[in-house]
Amino acid sequence: MPLSSRHLLGLNGVPREDIELILDTAITFREVLDRPIKKVPTLQGKTIVNLFYENSTRTRISFELAQKRLSADTVNFSTSTSSTKKGETFKDTVRNIEAMKLDMIVVRHESAGVPLYLTKISNANIINAGDGLHEHPTQALLDMYSIKERLGKIEGLKVCIVGDVAHSRVALSNIFGLKTMGAQVSVCGPATMMPLGIEKLGVKVYHDINKAIAENDVLNVLRIQLERNAGSTIPSTREYHNYYGITAERIANYNKEIVILHPGPINRGVEITSEVADGPYQVILDQVTNGVAIRMAVLYLLGTMH
């Protein structure tokens, strides 16, 4: 059964069957990544453009690796090398790239809504690699994959997203995806980091990290962006760490297994200590490997739909 849409713009409204199909398909590709020859011919002849209007290292590399391992032809376009600085409009840039005949576009942009806009001006399959504060669906999918890999299921689990939820596209995609998959989702952080109306999404809000640790099976710890937050949403990273940082002591207070995710890059000593980031409960590097498998699954499922 194919996916219900030929684009992956976000997880809001994506049916459970689609998410399950992507997660199941990724299992196969995850296994490919452990082979000596990590390449399959699935997308041979397909051309994919990675259109990155915002700095990104890991997401772009992850997509690029996924594309190469599926034998697709890939081109990277990023702002530093683009013509946007010369005054060309986004639409003209896309039309130009489109004229070079391509099949899929992976896009990251600082404005929410750009992936949806692309579906209107291009015939390619569009994959959102992060748009503004909106969604980052492949990150949430790899998070869910990693949770499932560790705990065997998603349904019924209690997952808490910790940190600057208001400025996180990772948080929003996780909330949509996890709820669709039957998890109970909560968020934890200071009130200044909680988005307007979040409780209307059926998401519990914690301001006490200890309570969040006590009551959840999984913590997805978001990166604190030093340049954005200090002084405006939190007094200092030190105060944040003291009240919301994930430390081994905090976890040790509760005699339980807990799974720690982090989308990276980590600010060690701010949102998470090294002891936890390298400790037994984290799946942070698994997330990175799984990210390639998830992106292979998404590219494969969309790229072979026609």
Partner: protein, 429 residues
């Protein structure tokens, strides 16, 4: 030349007039009102107005003409053409041009450029130099040159001290101070702040940004005794505050733009930049309170906030696209469809909000249906069903969310003195 409006329903609430009659206009002056004999009209151009209304010429007190500065988007002429096509005989143009309307020279330039047009154009001066909120604009000079109000349009008057000065100074001329009410420190966003901005991943501008400045302005109007006019009111709480202030006798008036009683922020789900404006589309709660405010008179007038933008500028990533949409050519149709046909307002009330009140706020005379008066009127077919087609706009720009929308009610002609606009053409009469 003589022109006859035959069997027209004359409505002018300011004259307590609502009756069917015929009107004879000669050389731009109303010559006769009432039954006309055959021989009186044999040499006249007769417009059969059966089923149509004549109202005192409609007036839009919030229009951006873009000239001087951005003539690629709109000029005084094309904006005036759009006004005539939309049923307006008068408009007030806002000062956020380039240069700003903060010198008598620029006021005179606009008046000079618009003087031969059917549509009367009244400049609104900047309240402060460069609309920067630092030093008073030469308001006395601007008044002498012909402004009808001041505003730092696009932004709120910067701080309480300069607002106080502006109000005190303008009080000497009974000049209204129009304020774009928004606290800039809370306004760093691309849409209304709320659940939808969270869901759509866009920074939000919460209604508190508007409410705080509305509260400030009302209190300062009370303190100084001068007049404040709240531009494009959009939040429920602001409407409530204006209502309470009016009850206390504070000199505050308010306008609303058609999109704020037509749309809510659900529209942003399409990320269509034609729904991006400032103040942003709000929620159902806000819209409902605006409707109540229109009904009970808290909101004095409807004004388009006509804001032309080029396609290149508007067709951009949502967070980069400029705010604002066209309004002149759709405003009457929207107001009739959404307010009169839905029984929110009577035709009389609509005419008050689209013609009489804005003129009174700006100290302009209200046209009358009286023998000897200059003809200044709009002929409206309230039941004409039409589809908005932005390719037919007289405006130089196309940025309208109403394109392809079916509307009921339209202006069929406007007459101002010796000029008429009908069937897409201007003629002298």
């Amino acid at each position: 030349m003589q022109i006859v409006l035959k069997n027209v329903l004359l409505i002018n609430p300011d004259q307590k007039l609502n009756s069917k009659s015929s009107l004879l206009i000669e050389d731009g002056i109303i010559k006769k009102i009432g039954e006309l004999e055959e021989k009186e009209i044999e040499n006249c151009e007769v417009i059969n107005c059966e089923g149509k209304i004549a109202a005192p010429g409609l007036f839009d007190m919030h229009v951006h003409l873009r000239e001087p500065g951005r003539e690629d988007e709109e000029t005084i002429e094309t904006g005036s053409n759009a006004a005539a096509a939309g049923g307006f005989t008068g408009i007030a143009c806002m000062p956020n041009t380039s240069p700003d309307i903060d010198s008598a020279e620029t006021v005179r330039f606009i008046i000079e450029k618009s003087k031969n047009h059917l549509v009367d154009v009244y400049p609104v001066g900047a309240a402060t130099l460069g609309r920067k909120g630092e030093a008073l604009a030469p308001i006395n000079e601007l008044v002498e040159a012909g402004i009808v109000a001041v505003s730092d349009d696009g932004v709120a008057i910067k701080n309480a001290a300069i607002l106080r000065s502006v109000l005190e100074y303008c009080g000497m001329f009974d000049l209204p101070v129009i304020d774009h009410c928004e606290d800039p420190t809370l306004a760093n966003g691309a849409m209304n702040g709320g659940l939808n901005s969270t869901l759509l991943g866009l920074h939000g501008i919460p209604t508190i940004a508007e409410d705080l400045i509305v509260m400030r302005d009302i209190m300062m109007a009370e303190f100084t005794g001068s007049r404040v006019h709240i531009a494009h009111i959009s939040s429920a709480k602001s409407v409530e505050m204006v209502r309470e202030a009016k009850k206390k006798g504070i000199k505050v008036t308010a306008e609303v733009a058609p999109h704020h009683f037509t749309f809510i922020d659900d529209q942003i789900k399409s990320y269509d930049t034609n729904y991006k404006m400032n103040p942003p589309l709000r929620t159902k709660t806000d819209l409902d309170e605006i409707i109540r405010g229109l009904k009970d008179g808290t909101i004095d007038c409807i004004a388009s906030d006509h804001a032309p933008h080029s396609i290149e500028e508007k067709e951009m990533e949502f967070i980069y696209a400029p705010n604002g949409i066209l309004g002149l050519e759709t405003q009457l149709g929207i107001a009739l469809s959404e307010l009169v046909h839905k029984k929110v307002l009577t035709l009389e009330q609509l005419i008050e909000k689209l013609s009489i009140n804005p003129r009174k706020i700006l100290n302009l005379p209200v046209p009358k249906f009286e023998v000897g008066e200059a003809a200044n009127l709009t002929i409206i077919d309230p039941d004409l069903v039409w589809t908005v087609d932005h390719s037919q706009f007289k405006s130089k720009s196309k940025n309208s969310p109403y394109d392809k929308r079916l509307l009921t009610g339209k202006s069929v002609a406007v007459i101002n003195g010796k000029k008429i606009y009908m069937n897409g053409k201007f003629n002298n009469i």
